[in-house]
């Protein structure tokens, strides 16, 4: 079920210039992961989606909170 390859999965869209990086970096901080820096690995993401239990939402019942 749901094992078909996801042809046309286009997660890369045209990007407009983004606001300047707000990240404060401390010593040893690897900093932000800019989506444009490395090639997106969408294959792993598709595998992750296929592994989702299709029935899990049916079982997901919560107590009412605030």
């Amino acid at each position: 079920m749901h094992a078909t390859a996801l042809k046309g999965m286009n997660l890369e869209r045209e990007r407009m210039p983004l606001p300047a990086d707000p990240v404060r970096r401390g010593p040893g901080d690897e900093g932000p992961k800019d989506p444009g820096v490395r090639r997106p690995n969408t294959k792993d993401l598709l595998e992750r989606m296929r592994r989702v239990d299709p029935e899990q939402a049916k079982r997901y019942r919560q107590r009412s909170g605030e």
Binding site: R15, P32, M49, Q62, S64
Partner: protein, 514 residues
């Protein structure tokens, strides 16, 4: 003054082999599994959630009728205080079980980026609890940063903003309501289906929470929820401060969305505090917040009381324009937030999918739509709801939000080292620094603790450390001196000396009478 900011997130929880009726106890046990340094018990004496900012106190808060379904199981659960199992952590945060949901309340932060880091730190801390609880029981535990179970049950993500008491309540409500109704266009976490007003699973809406609001303003949070919560618990000097308690927001996995949501709201609040008004009133705000969330055209049109038609984007632009005029150049974080707010509103008008790497609802919609089309699924296919749920999983290996992050598809605004530091240490510029220091150094000497005070034991009794006067910041010199204290007596002495210098009474010897 600095603006204290805080976020509280009630997490969805599943435990292998358990159902919703077991979650009061399971959530309690998860919180108790926290393996790090902490102090308890929570001091409930200064709190009363029945106090209404409109100047009165209600007899009782409205209960959720959903609780009646679990009456038998709840009767077997421990007393409420035991269920809650409050822990105050060394980073100044509060961790507890709120009605069957593990809740992480960040320490008070003075900057939006600090708050984002501490919100993210909460996820790490809860994952530590999950690992320990799974080790204890051998049963799989999953946590979700979301606000509904798709079956009509909701749980909250609340924001807190220290605010000035001198601003009349009516001005706050009138000034902020149009903002709160419309900010979901960037702050929504996205959801398949409608859970009230004729349930349906055939649409994708902006907000997880919009379905659940039935009132414009009220003190309730459990049932008959309002867009504008009127709870009057400042956790600071009540003569000077209010706490704006925003309950109409979604839990945002996206750091960018969290930052923009909180940053824009803090600026909107500042405008209203300074006497500015948006000059418009939205007709039927309860209906409008739902209509905007469910609008499949993404034009987000609404009607004002004056009969004019405008859009949610234009309403947001009113606030942005004034904030830009008053606050640009104040500091780098404000400049970044103003630019981010402007860019997002422009992209929402021109092409929402430019925001696929920043806003939760856009990222989720895109992910689900691509999967749905590829697999020829209907929106009401059970797999689609399961993917919607999985977006919110905080498990780094399973959660779809984290899959997007790992694929380089989501913009992050704080680094992983910053988040790790926030899981261990409090912000250095708020009263949380003193609370966290006491938890780390003298946990056995804490008789009780809450947001505004600690009771500390030493050889000659219990002593009040009142944090209320530090709501506007902690002098760096005081923190430096206190951090060198070798005992509780030493710490109290340092605080008293520091308070005398600043003429701020924060520590006094006293019997604990409450």
């Amino acid at each position: 003054m600095i603006r204290l900011l805080g976020l509280e997130t009630e997490y969805g929880i599943t435990v292998e082999g358990r159902d919703a009726g077991d979650l009061l106890v399971e959530s309690m046990e998860l919180v108790r599994a926290y393996p790090g340094p902490h102090a308890k018990p929570w001091d409930y004496h200064p709190e009363d959630p029945r106090r209404d900012a409109r100047g009165y106190q209600v007899r009782h808060l409205t209960r959720s009728p959903d609780d009646d379904n679990y009456r038998q199981q709840d009767a077997k659960a421990p007393p409420v205080r035991d269920q809650r199992s409050d822990r105050v952590l060394a980073n100044g945060a509060r961790l507890y079980n709120d009605h069957g949901h593990p809740e992480y309340a960040t320490p008070e932060c003075a900057s939006v980026l600090d708050l984002v880091a501490h919100d993210r730190a909460g996820e790490r801390i809860l994952l530590d609890c999950v690992a320990e609880r799974e080790r204890q029981t051998g049963k799989r535990v999953r946590l979700y940063k979301n606000n509904s179970d798709h079956f009509g049950v909701s749980y909250g993500t609340h924001e807190n903003y220290l605010s000035l008491r001198e601003v009349p309540f009516e001005a706050l409500l009138a000034g902020l309501l149009p903002f709160l109704v419309t900010r979901q266009i960037y702050a929504g976490a996205g959801k398949i289906g409608v859970e009230q007003d004729g349930a349906s699973t055939n649409i994708f809406q902006l907000s997880q929470r919009a379905d659940f609001f039935t009132e414009v303003a009220s003190v309730d949070t459990l049932h008959r929820r309002p867009i504008f919560n009127t709870r009057d618990e400042p956790h600071a000097d009540p003569a000077r401060f209010r706490r704006l308690h925003v309950i109409c927001g979604d839990a945002n996995p996206s750091e960018f969305a969290t930052a923009l949501k909180v940053g824009a709201t803090a600026m909107a609040l500042a405008l209203v505090e300074e006497g500015w008004s948006p000059g418009l009133e939205i007709r039927e705000p309860v209906r409008t917040i739902k209509d905007l969330s469910r609008d499949q055209t993404h034009r987000w049109m609404l009607e004002t009381m004056q009969g004019a038609k405008t859009s949610a984007v234009e309403v947001q632009r009113l606030y942005l324009a004034e904030a830009h005029r008053r606050y640009q150049g104040r500091d780098p974080e404000t400049d970044w937030l103003l630019m981010a707010w402007d860019t997002v509103l422009r992209d929402l008008e021109e092409d929402v999918f430019r925001l696929v790497d920043r806003l939760d609802w856009v990222a989720k919609l895109h992910l689900l739509e691509e999967f749905r089309e590829s697999e020829s699924l209907a929106w009401d296919d059970p797999m689609m709801l399961s993917l919607d749920l999985e977006y919110a999983s905080i498990d780094r290996q399973e959660g779809l939000y984290w899959g997007l992050v790992d694929a380089g598809q989501m913009r992050q605004v704080v680094g992983s080292k910053t988040v790790a530091d926030a899981a261990a240490d409090p912000p250095k510029d708020t009263r949380a620094a003193l609370r966290g220091l006491c938890v780390r150094r003298f946990p056995e000497s804490i008789a009780s603790v809450c947001w505004s005070r600690l009771w500390l034991r030493n050889g000659d009794g219990e002593h009040l450390l009142d944090l209320s006067p530090l709501a506007e910041g902690v002098p760096p010199r005081l923190l430096e001196e206190v951090s060198r204290a070798r005992s509780v007596s030493d710490l109290l002495q340092q605080v008293q000396q520091g308070a005398r210098r600043a003429e701020t009474p924060v520590a006094e010897a006293s019997g604990m009478e409450e």
